[in-house]
Symmetry: C2
Subunit: 599 residues, 2 copies
């Protein structure tokens, strides 16, 4: 801890600091980064605690004074203006001038004689002046010095003006300065990472006529509707050729009927397009057409193989073979995926596997894709993701990865740390007021807030919660409003959600006649759909900065347990959104809510 015998301040527990600084914290452009530190010194002297920061593109450190909150805990902040990495560090020192000033003001307040005090102050100023490098600052301090020598009211005026400490904090005695044990980093992400509305759509279900396999061209015709609805990310499940071997039939049956299209997640070749969807050119045109409407295309990448995948013959060493010559199919308990086999990441030829998988991302990035929704990342090693995401982002800066991991919290967190920009969450299963408040408070206030960016989905092709099954249209509107106003990132599996297609497969938390295994034909404006509600909520989100961050969500009292009430405000508190939601899809509910006057 000793840097030099004269440095007496101690700095501990700077936050954000993720895994001792191994990982970057995360922020979004324009956000204020609030840094905390424990800092103190022995004795009764005043200390100054300073936050230094710089964008990686600049060598010049900026500084910002930190304030004592309580109990030797200090806070400070800086504005993350632009994308890329900021580096920050904290220093502290016993501040002789500040200590002297506080003593002086106390004595002045008690009407005591100040001559000797001002002489001591002049000595302190002399010491500071020696270290000052800027002429203007020297001149200013020399004026103060002269006033101190004379003492009296003009000296006191100098003290009260705050001019002296504004200069002196720039030139601390280096022997007195303690530095925190490391520099830390915060990554300012592309704006879309912090604020996005996703629309999941199966291009094969985009044909005008029922029963016809849709194409990218058909999907392109849907873009104006998606734009009208107000979404800015259109997300495609895998668009690759679907395996024939092991193919699933309708409703996840093991024997497909002739013509059953199979699950798109049973990928037969990660670098090709399913022929019925069109050509690579068609896909690139779709991406461009979407881009023109300011809609990004997100592609689903599922690192797993249908049993007739080209990798299995070309790289048998990438798979775990049983002694009976088979490969164990994939499982994500309790779900079984008989139509796919997993990679064996412990295989000896792991480096080639890693590089091949990286090349899959690169392949699609070359076709214009800048957002990847990654299927089941929690069943692949963290080290692989750290490697792969870095490689892709180096080549295509600003690429965004959404982790589809529904698993234990520490695993979801580690995926976020390795580089996933957004993450699916437990929101889908948090339906009561207590559940929602508890979960959102955890997301917003726990350490994970610094690296785990939630994306709230009320439904997915995999999950149709009982609440939606039983609550019908009102439940869909409730979950839409919650997702879209609690989290700045949200998405819907659109066709089923907007048309209230909520019939479950008996005994399961999934849609019956699930689009995963068959073509669908959605009429978003059909009687009873929530087309207008979705459109309205997305418009409100775009118009109100308060809804464009998740970290400002604060819950307030509502007298009825069926009513949840929260307020969000932007940093300047110019835009304030109060949201009250009746969580009961079956009955009207009334509640008294408390709006704190201070807010």
């Amino acid at each position: 801890m000793i840097k030099h015998g004269r440095n007496r301040a101690v700095i501990e527990k700077v936050m954000p600091e993720i895994n001792k600084g191994l990982f970057s914290a995360r922020a979004f452009p324009g956000e204020s980064i609030h840094v905390e530190a424990h800092a103190y010194a022995d004795g009764h002297d005043e200390i100054t605690v300073m936050l230094y920061y710089r964008h990686e593109s600049s060598k010049q450190w900026e500084s910002s004074g930190m304030s004592l909150r309580w109990n030797d805990e200090w806070t400070g902040s800086f504005k993350a203006e632009k994308e890329g990495r900021y580096i920050y560090r904290v220093s502290a020192w016993v501040d002789g001038y500040k200590t002297w000033k506080n003593g002086l003001l106390k004595k002045a307040g008690a009407g005591q004689a100040l001559e000797v005090e001002f002489k001591i102050g002049a000595e302190i100023l002399k010491g500071i002046i020696k270290r000052v490098q800027v002429k203007k600052d020297i001149e200013e301090l020399e004026k103060a010095f002269a006033a101190f020598l004379k003492g009296g009211s003009s000296a006191l005026e100098f003290v009260n003006s705050g001019v002296i400490e504004a200069i002196s904090v720039k030139y601390p005695d280096p022997e007195l300065v303690s530095d925190y044990d490391r520099e830390l980093r915060v990554n300012v992400e592309p704006p879309r990472t912090g604020f996005s509305a996703w629309y999941e759509i199966f291009p094969r279900s985009c044909a005008k006529e029922e029963g016809v396999h849709g194409t990218f061209k058909d999907a392109e015709a849907w873009l104006p509707v998606i734009k009208e609805l107000g979404f800015d990310v259109v997300y495609f499940p895998p668009i690759h050729p679907i395996g024939v071997k092991g193919r699933k039939g309708r409703n996840n049956t093991l024997k497909p009927a002739p013509g059953d299209p199979g699950s798109p997640w049973a990928v037969q070749n990660h670098k090709e397009i399913h022929p019925q969807l069109g050509t690579t050119v068609d896909f690139e045109e779709f991406v461009k057409a979407a881009k023109k409407l300011r809609i990004d295309t997100a592609l689903d990448i599922a690192f797993q193989c249908s049993p007739d995948h080209v990798y299995i013959t070309e790289h048998p060493e990438w798979f775990k073979w049983r002694t009976d010559g088979t490969i164990q199919y994939a499982e994500n308990p309790p779900k079984k995926y008989e139509d796919i086999v997993p990679f064996n990441f412990e295989n000896d030829n792991w480096q080639e596997l890693w590089d091949e998988l990286v090349s899959v991302f690169i392949f699609w990035a070359e076709k214009g894709v800048r957002i990847f929704r990654v299927d089941n990342p929690h069943t692949k090693p963290f080290g692989f993701w750290e490697y792969a995401l870095k490689k892709v982002k180096e080549r295509y800066p600003g690429t965004i990865f959404l982790a589809e991991a529904f698993t234990r919290p520490k695993i979801m967190h580690m995926l976020a740390k390795t580089g996933f920009n957004q993450s699916y969450t437990y929101f889908t299963w948090r339906n009561t007021k207590q559940e929602i408040e508890g979960y959102v408070n955890e997301l917003v206030h726990a350490e994970s807030r610094w690296f785990f960016t939630p994306n709230f989905w009320p439904n997915t092709p995999d999950i149709l919660h009982e609440y939606l099954q039983k609550g019908g249209r009102p439940a869909h509107v409730i979950r839409l409003v919650l997702a879209a106003t609690l989290s700045s990132n949200y998405g819907i599996y659109g066709g089923a959600f907007i048309t209230i297609d909520n019939e479950p497969f008996p005994g399961k938390e999934e849609n019956n006649n699930n689009e995963k295994y068959q073509l669908k034909n959605w009429d978003l404006r059909q009687e009873g759909s929530i087309f207008d509600e979705v459109k309205r909520i997305n418009a409100i989100r775009r118009e109100n900065p308060a809804l464009q961050t998740t970290w400002n969500t604060r819950f307030y009292y509502a007298s009825n347990d069926n009513v949840i009430f929260y307020i969000k405000a932007d940093e300047e508190k110019k835009n304030i959104i109060m949201t009250a939601v009746n969580l009961d899809p079956h009955n009207k509910q009334a509640a008294v809510v408390h709006v704190p006057a201070a807010d």
Copy 2:
């Protein structure tokens, strides 16, 4: 994070880890060190998490398997048998055998065919056998291998016996092993650091006759009494010559009467003995006589100077001079010490000051002192303590330092981290049930438990709490029992406490006619004293291992807020002490208490 592409386990947040491992954790001989870690891997495979540890004197790592508690949090432990430093580290890996075994047992439970499974198991065994270095282990595994090839009940027996994993965890595939990012240390302290009863006594008040200045010889005559009372540390306030310049009179007055002895904390020379107490030889003889009774002598070291201290003329640069040629006297707000001046630790000649102060400890260590009670350490730099305590302990291993710091929590914690073995606490000001439970729970359960060893004092010459002032004899017994049974280390400022000398200086939290400024003459067995109670409680402490640690204190329900109830048990739960204390010194109180059957 990537060590090798095949290692998939992640380890985070190993505890205890103090300031990223910069400081050692602390334990006492015979204690079990409970280590925690977050550990997990991707996917659904089983992991093994292993705790390795060794005493610094051994190069051989011992190992102990960790168990999953919940939510990817693992716990393990090792026994700190002997004094000195232990080093520990945590590793984890995906355990192919364990994963296979769990799958097999599920299939066996479901009555499925196991032939193929056992063949796969045999392949796994083959892989393990390649890494085994001990012949006996190879033979054991080869037996299992043969059984697996045959399959059937004898194979299943091998699986169920646990023999295979007991061997296989010793030989993990090094490419699969993830190691925590650092090795950590725990320092096993001298036994007395963990269990001690202190008796504070002014040797100058030890004379038989009132008004006569006592000597070390007089103090020696008290040793049998202190022994009878059951204390094992006798603690002397400073024994150095007392300054004449600035000397305080009775009751902290600024003008002493002729013959007033002054405060022993106004030290005039840190390496001399106050002549009225006797000679260096007398002191050494006292230390030896105490040692014979298994009582350690603790000496108060106060790094501050009377205005006529030798240092002020020899080393004027060690002090902060005001422009009027004076040195500002010491303050510990709101207390003012007009009879002492502080060192200026920011002086340019700090290294010489540090070394001189270290030599003070060494000087008294040479005279046989192995326990120092350090006055106001929080007004000296942490870096100095880190340096000084290390130096003294290197030269005199097993030396114990008690920090007399009553200040803000983080400062008290940092002093403990720098090497203070025991610390004064807020116990003196925690009197209600809620206050006591809250504070003790914090001491026992927060991270500070690993470095901050409390020493509970119901009173000191500086502090006579209102509770003692108003509660009289019952209050003294209550505070005695609480201090002695809640904390394994406790102490009393004996004369005043045992004789219930509790008259406050008007308006202050201090004794009237305070022994700090005048001689006293205590009769510990006078009518109404609590001599027998003190003797009894110390005897109980010695007889019951459950009272010899602080970390086992657990509070339980008592139906009356005036009654506090707690249970302490030793590690083996052979010795269990239940304590119920009526906190109301004025009235009888009754309560129903809950004793959990499980305990």
